[in-house]
Symmetry: C2
Subunit: 418 residues, 2 copies
């Protein structure tokens, strides 16, 4: 069978499985998730053995320690996958929810009913635990999923797939509801995203290169974010101690993630008071600072930021710093250089908080809180499958509800249109 | 200026206008809509004169009477546009609505705030009144819009554009919030749908050819439906008089629209009783019937339906008729041949109504009511800009709310992530 036939067959089987999942009750879906958890526990040795093949390959290929770390299925990672499955079991089933119902003058009752999207194509990079996370969220929301992981994790992913398929069968659900692409060829990604008849939505997760490849080749709608160039604006009325804590947390707590702060904007009225203390703290934590000319007036020994710095998602202990003359200048800067991901203001001024919330065009806008809260779990959506910075369908973190849509249901007793 | 530069400039100006519209209050938007209505009334002569140029061109080009009819801006059509504007004024402003708000254990309050999508590209065919309808819905929902109408209506559309621009200026809103592409070149469509930086969503409305052209060329997400192959399933438990009224209404009341019935599925237990009366009534109304073999057993002088008939959107007084052995067979038929648009069941059986509602994967599913109710106005959404049969973003008719999305807003008092 050619790769093209293989992918096409997977699409057809996913479409068939999605039909059965449309009306699968919560009990069956939760049973499958619980069985997945049990089998992951029982088949640890097999998983670790298959993962070891990937690790050997990765070492031969000279992957970095960080990459190998992310690839490793240790007992702790397996425990975390099991716990993740149990958390999804605990979440309500979004399918079938009636999100609103009203009566029309002619007597028909109109409602909106939550339904699965259908078939999801999920494309991601190394971590094999993402395979289980994504599969569980798609299944609980009634969707079939085709998973295409990184080539370096292929043995781990196929071992996981066999467990997931097993669990689906045991629960009486179609085993092809979760499929892992058994190929390491990037051509498989291209074929997958062209299959508009059999896939309803593509979610890519990984580096900007992968996501651009998917977006440029896809005929299927893509929910994605390229990068998170997140800003915090420290207003002239900010509680400067609070601002220091929030900015420090947003930059340093986990610098390698998309909701970490990349640019700090500081009102000029507080720059001389705020910047020296704040930057001293950053420097102690090993953060490299790159400042605008006005920042350099306050702290002359900083590196000067270039135009490119304002666009940069460092994902590292580097921070661009800019002094602005007004909140409007801060908003204009964010509009120009931002990525519609996450922006925060630190302020004690009610009206400015109000305006910032209304004007900033990002998926999450915060007042007096760290950008690190842009996360499905932190915001109370439960686990998330990704963050979308296009405005279509679901803007921001996507949990179970965001993997569904609604259809209209109409209850009549003979109404016709006149 | 080349066509490419022209379209690109329009995109840039729309993006700028969208920024100002983000926070424009209801008062200003309604004032602009009211001024549009007043100016349409005052400048009737100019509109009719420009429309006359289009009509002369259409006659020269030998367009059909139906086409010329749709192109005509009579006083009655202008009155209808004015009334449409007043109706949109009466609808609530969706922007800024908080659709939910909750508190997290750490004290942050998380809400979802409704916001505009940004810039909409609207691509359509002949009727110039659609220009005003679409512009008013986009404006009220806080979106900038670029309108590309049919080439045969270019003079009418440019005259309308000048009125709309005028009204926006008078209301203190950016005049480039509504723009009409001043070109009849189809290349303008291709350029428009490639402009992913400046357009957030494309909505095409028209024949299947136009919509396929847009979908195949677009880099911007497209909300669309290709066609409406709508079914009514007459269950064995149906009130047959009710079934007759509903089926007749769905086929005959306005056969040329996307929510008209194209295939009627009849349970075999009622076929001999239902079909002769029903089909007699259809024949009297001039409906051509095409039946499956089992239909022909009951009514031997019908034309035999081919495989192609089940896929067909006739948009005419033609109906495909099929006898099925069970509701499951009806559902399988709809899954295979349907277009996820509108499906109805006529039944007196509670459990079967329940199952049909759950299993049918269409944007509107009705029990005991005509498919003709798939319409934003009829369902209570207010005016609609189109119907979407892809599951993304908004499945079904799209009104003002469906032209928005939500962002997360977070209110904290110093929270950081641990």
């Amino acid at each position: 069978m050619s790769l093209q036939e293989l992918i096409y067959n997977m699409g057809q089987q996913a479409r068939g499985a999605a039909k059965a999942l449309r009306t699968a009750g919560r009990e069956k879906k939760d049973a499958a998730l619980r069985t997945m958890a049990r089998l992951l526990d029982q088949r640890r040795q097999e998983l670790i053995r298959e993962n070891d093949k990937d690790l050997q390959g990765a070492r031969k290929a000279g992957l970095s320690t960080a990459m190998i770390d992310r690839l490793t299925l240790s007992d702790a990672v397996i425990d975390a996958m099991i716990q993740g499955l149990e958390e999804v079991v605990g979440q309500p089933d979004p399918v079938g929810e009636i999100t609103g119902m009203w009566k029309r003058p002619n007597g028909i009752v109109v409602g909106r009913m939550r339904i699965p999207l259908g078939v999801i194509g999920f494309i991601y990079e190394s971590r094999p635990n993402v395979t289980v996370d994504a599969a569980s969220l798609c299944l609980k929301s009634g969707n079939a999923v085709i998973l295409k992981g990184g080539s370096e994790a292929i043995n781990s992913n196929l071992a996981l797939a066999s467990i997931l398929e097993h669990a689906l069968s045991e629960a009486g659900l179609p085993p092809k509801a979760v499929q892992v692409v058994p190929s390491t060829d990037r051509e498989a990604v291209r074929l997958l995203v062209q299959m508009e008849d059999h896939i309803d939505i593509i979610i890519p997760r990984g580096g900007e290169g992968l996501i651009r490849f998917v977006a440029e080749n896809s005929k299927v709608p893509v929910l994605k974010h390229y990068k998170g160039v997140c800003h915090i604006y420290v207003d002239e009325s900010a509680d400067l101690q609070m601002a220091q804590e929030i900015c420090f947390n947003a930059k340093v707590q986990r610098p390698g993630v998309c909701n970490a702060m990349e640019t700090m904007l500081v009102h000029r009225a507080v720059a001389t008071k705020f910047l020296p203390l704040m930057c001293e703290r950053f420097r102690k934590a090993g953060v490299e600072l790159r400042g605008c000319p006005r920042t350099l007036e306050v702290l002359p020994d900083l590196t000067r930021a270039t135009e490119q710095d304002w666009y940069e998602e460092y994902l590292d202990l580097i921070l661009a710093v800019k002094v602005v003359s007004s909140m409007e200048e801060a908003i204009d800067h964010i509009d120009k250089y931002g990525s519609n991901h996450t922006e925060a203001i630190v302020t004690s001024d009610y009206l400015r908080a109000h305006r910032f919330l209304a004007q900033i065009d990002s998926s999450v806008v915060l007042v007096n809180a760290s950008t690190r809260f842009n996360d499905g779990g932190q915001l109370g959506l439960g686990a998330e499958i990704g963050i979308n910075t296009s405005k279509l369908h679901a803007f921001g973190p996507m949990g179970l509800k965001e993997l569904t849509t609604t259809k209209f249901v109409v209850l009549g007793n003979g109404q016709i249109r006149s």
